[in-house]
């Protein structure tokens, strides 16, 4: 389930694992519309001569504020280079060095140049390459524009999914011996985000409702450099190529916060620095709030056009500023979910038959803060791992019994008709509830959080749930009913939002992206642990799980 980098990579791995499998790739949008398409900067892997696996592992673990599981990180860095090379063999148009090798660039939090890139449209090229490669396998049957509404469970096992075909809004029941969730992130739970409109955390909500815990959900990454208003990302490659962040005094203010790394510091630190500059009155003010400047003018037109053409295109188009001549207004913006469906280092969840990978999953290699360019590689490495594993498991698993499964799908259809399409009561619009949810999350679970702000958000999300029950749709017809889809997505967003604020409330420390003004320090005695949010009748129940430490004992995170 999912046609982004992780889902496509998993499908290809499963197709390669055996001739004897039927693979369905279910996606609510055509695969090349998936959010992976927006990734700009690059994919990190220890490819260069001055790099090593240990160095990549250490950067990742330190970046994670020691919350990453180190055995998973070790597997990740070891398999990353092979995966990048694999996509090269499949035709990915990576940018090259003069001698023809893959070029690598600098990225935040990485101590050497290790980010392979395809101009500044890396995700786009990677996604298209994977999509194109998937076309070679007839075994991969695509179900495009199918929206999955629930997991089918039988005797404590996941035996498929129920999905509506958006063309006619009929529930189709797709039985399976293995289901892999690669449904991406949750950015849309917040109002100001770099994420595509489709990033509503569906897979996380499905797994959660099926009893699988969501891990480390309090860790939401803010990217330091989004365009005010639209939230469109100015890739960190701008800083990798040498761009500056400047306040309203014309000063590179990061020298007050992280002088050793400056603009190449990790995202959590940079985002906090910008918010603090705003609070000190050192920021500019515009119609879409406060911002600082990203200045790349000194790179010159030639470098900008060669290495950062998309940055120029986006800034010119959407804020009317040509970065060759003027600095770009930027501010922190919700970007990435470190947490997700709890899996082991091969993508298995606690529910037999259910697997997950990509941004939807929490393995966890990202811990409390992901390093830029690690997640595309994560999608490749863990997409492949989980695809193979699920294939092996499926080859020996018993077939689900058709009968009960068909009944489950019928029940799902009835639920959709009764709760949405033919529901007679209700006054709330999807968009009104969604807008208020996004605003509540922005207020309560932003870059800086407190007991009070999180409690308030918990309460507000609870109220929004009640309003959700009072939803009424304009569109009661079956053909391409995107309002129905939006309503189902909103239900998922509410579940996910609740786990974010509850996990955040209980984590009374500051670590990585989770910054509590009332608990400013990291507290390894109590919180060197993964939070696990389980669904219960009273809302999320938070438990804690161990972090795997192999070779890098936690120390103060210094740059």
């Amino acid at each position: 389930m999912g046609g982004g980098a992780a889902g496509l990579r998993a499908a290809i791995a499963a197709a390669e694992a055996s001739d004897g499998l039927d693979i369905a790739l279910v996606s609510k949008v055509y695969p090349m519309r998936s959010h992976t398409v927006s990734a700009e900067g690059g994919a990190g892997a220890a490819l260069g001569p001055d790099d090593s696996l240990d160095l990549h592992a250490f950067d990742t673990i330190r970046g994670s504020d020691y919350l990453a599981d180190q055995h998973a990180v070790e597997a990740f860095v070891a398999e990353g280079p092979g995966e990048i090379v694999q996509t090269e063999r499949w035709g990915c148009p990576w940018s090259r060095e003069p001698d023809g090798r893959l070029a690598v660039r600098a990225f935040g939090g990485m101590s050497v140049n290790r980010t392979a890139f395809a101009a500044d449209k890396t995700g786009f090229h990677l996604l298209h390459t994977l999509f194109q490669t998937s076309l070679k396998y007839e075994r991969i049957v695509r179900l495009d524009e199918f929206f999955v509404t629930s997991l089918l469970l039988e005797d404590g096992r996941c035996v498929g999914v129920a999905a509506i075909d958006m063309r006619d809004s009929e529930v189709r029941c797709i039985t399976a011996k293995a289901v892999i969730l690669c449904t991406g992130g949750i950015g849309r739970v917040f109002s100001f985000t770099t994420n595509a409109a489709i990033n509503t955390g569906d897979g996380m909500a499905l797994a959660y409702r099926a009893g699988v815990p969501l891990k480390d959900m309090e860790f939401v990454q803010y990217h330091p450099t989004g365009l005010p208003g639209t939230g469109i990302l100015m890739t960190e490659a701008s800083q990798g190529e040498g761009g500056y962040l400047v306040n309203n005094e014309g000063r590179r203010f990061l020298e007050d916060y992280i002088p050793s790394k400056m603009e190449l510091g990790p995202r959590d630190i940079l985002s906090r620095a910008i918010i603090e500059e705003i609070e000190k009155g050192h920021a500019f003010e515009g119609p879409y709030g406060h911002y600082v400047h990203l200045d790349i003018r000194h790179l010159g037109e030639k470098t900008i056009d060669k290495r950062l053409p998309f940055v120029r295109e986006l800034a010119t188009k959407f804020v009317g500023i040509d970065p060759v001549h003027e600095p770009i207004p930027v501010r922190p913006v919700v970007h990435y979910m470190m947490g997700g469906i709890d899996t082991d280092e091969v993508g298995r969840t606690r529910l037999p038959g259910l697997y997950a990978a990509g941004e939807a999953a929490c393995v966890s290699i990202n811990g409390a803060n992901r390093l830029g360019s690690n997640s595309l590689t994560e999608c490749l490495v863990f997409g492949r791992r989980v695809g193979r594993l699920a294939a092996q498991d499926a080859l020996v698993a018993a077939a689900p019994s058709e009968n009960p499964v068909v009944r489950l799908a019928e029940a799902e259809q009835e639920r959709l008709v009764a709760s949405y399409l033919e529901k007679e009561t209700g006054t709330e619009r999807v968009a009104a509830v969604r807008r208020d949810l996004q605003a509540a999350m922005e207020r309560g679970a932003g870059v800086f959080r407190t007991e009070e702000s999180l409690k308030q958000a918990v309460e507000e999300v609870g109220e929004l749930r009640e309003r959700y029950a009072d939803l009424s749709l304009d569109d009661r017809e079956r053909a391409f009913n995107t309002e129905l889809v939006a309503a189902l997505e909103l239900g998922n967003m509410l579940d996910v939002a609740e786990t974010i604020v509850r996990s955040g409330l209980d984590r009374r420390e500051s670590r990585g992206s989770h910054t509590r003004r009332d608990y400013p320090d990291r507290d390894d005695d109590r919180f060197l642990a993964h939070s696990l949010a389980f669904a219960s009748a009273e809302g999320p129940r938070i438990e804690y799980g161990d972090v795997t430490i192999t070779r890098w004992p936690p120390e103060e995170r210094k740059y």
């Binding site: 409109a197 639209t230 188009k317 569109d475 309002e483």
Partner: protein, 275 residues
């Protein structure tokens, strides 16, 4: 000229029928308020005239008008969302990234194909006409059946073909070799080009510019060995030689790909057997 009501059923329709369509908002279910108060400071009022179609409501297409207040720098996509989320939830459109890379939202905007997320309100206010792209069957409102488009794409074998044993690491490719096919790697499969092409409208068989662009992307990639197969496919009667070089495709492409040039290069490669 076909009867306008037949539009949704007849995929290959020319643009000349525009004037004939019925005006007015005929639809009842869920009709919300169609206009709000005057625009606030810094906002502009935009009237969207949208071509609607929903076979469950009525058999033919119709026009609806909505007035919304937007910031001048908002995208047309934001205005369509404003309509969908606060005026009429039945409006159907596709979108995802909202900044011109995913290819979801090509539409006919004031008579030209463009991505709704790359058109700014200030460039179309006070009034804009929005229709589905042409030449593909309309499913509902602005959503068309993309399957024939993707079938054309698939026919040109849009994946790297090379059975030689690869080296241990990556294959080498110089920046110059990489540059050779750079332009056509940028295609986002939005169908703006193909659905602006009069040959494609008039002729259900033409594979269309987007498929040729994607063939070009591999034919001129130094790592690929499948050029012969692709060129044979494109030499066929549904292929490149149907192109009459009208340049509509190049004008329509939101990624600025030189589509006609790519088509010409593919034609030449076929004629002179030269890559």
């Amino acid at each position: 000229m076909a009867h306008p009501d037949l539009w949704p059923e007849t995929p290959h329709e020319g643009p000349e029928d525009l004037e004939l369509w019925e005006e007015g908002p005929p639809r009842e279910p869920g009709a919300g308020p169609r206009a709000e108060g005057p625009p606030a400071a810094g906002e502009v009022r935009l009237t969207l005239k949208i071509r609607r179609y929903n076979p469950a409501v009525r058999p033919d297409a119709w026009w609806d008008e909505f007035a919304v207040n937007m910031h001048p720098t908002d995208r047309l996509l934001d205005a369509l969302h404003e309509v969908k989320w606060f005026h009429d939830g039945t409006l159907a459109l596709r979108r995802s990234c909202a900044h011109g890379v995913c290819g979801s939202d090509a539409m006919l905007i004031d008579g030209r194909n463009a991505l709704a997320c790359k058109v700014l309100v200030k460039d179309v206010a006070p009034k804009v006409t929005v229709e589905p792209i042409r030449g593909l069957r309309v499913i509902k409102d602005l959503v068309v059946d993309m399957e024939p488009f993707f079938e054309g794409y698939k026919r040109v074998l849009p994946f790297l073909i090379n059975d030689e044993d690869p080296p241990d690491r990556e294959r080498l490719q110089t920046p110059q070799e990489r540059e050779r096919y750079d332009d056509t790697t940028k295609c986002i499969l939005c169908a703006a080009c193909t659905t602006s092409c009069p040959i494609f409208w008039g002729d259900g068989e033409y594979i269309g510019p987007a498929a040729i662009v994607n063939a070009h992307r591999f034919v001129f990639d130094s790592r690929d060995r499948g050029a012969r197969d692709r060129l044979d496919i494109l030499a066929d009667r549904t292929g490149v030689f149907r192109c009459r070089t009208t340049f509509n495709c190049t004008e329509a492409c939101p990624r600025g790909i030189k589509v006609t040039k790519a088509i010409q290069e593919v034609k030449r490669a076929i004629m002179f057997d030269r890559l």
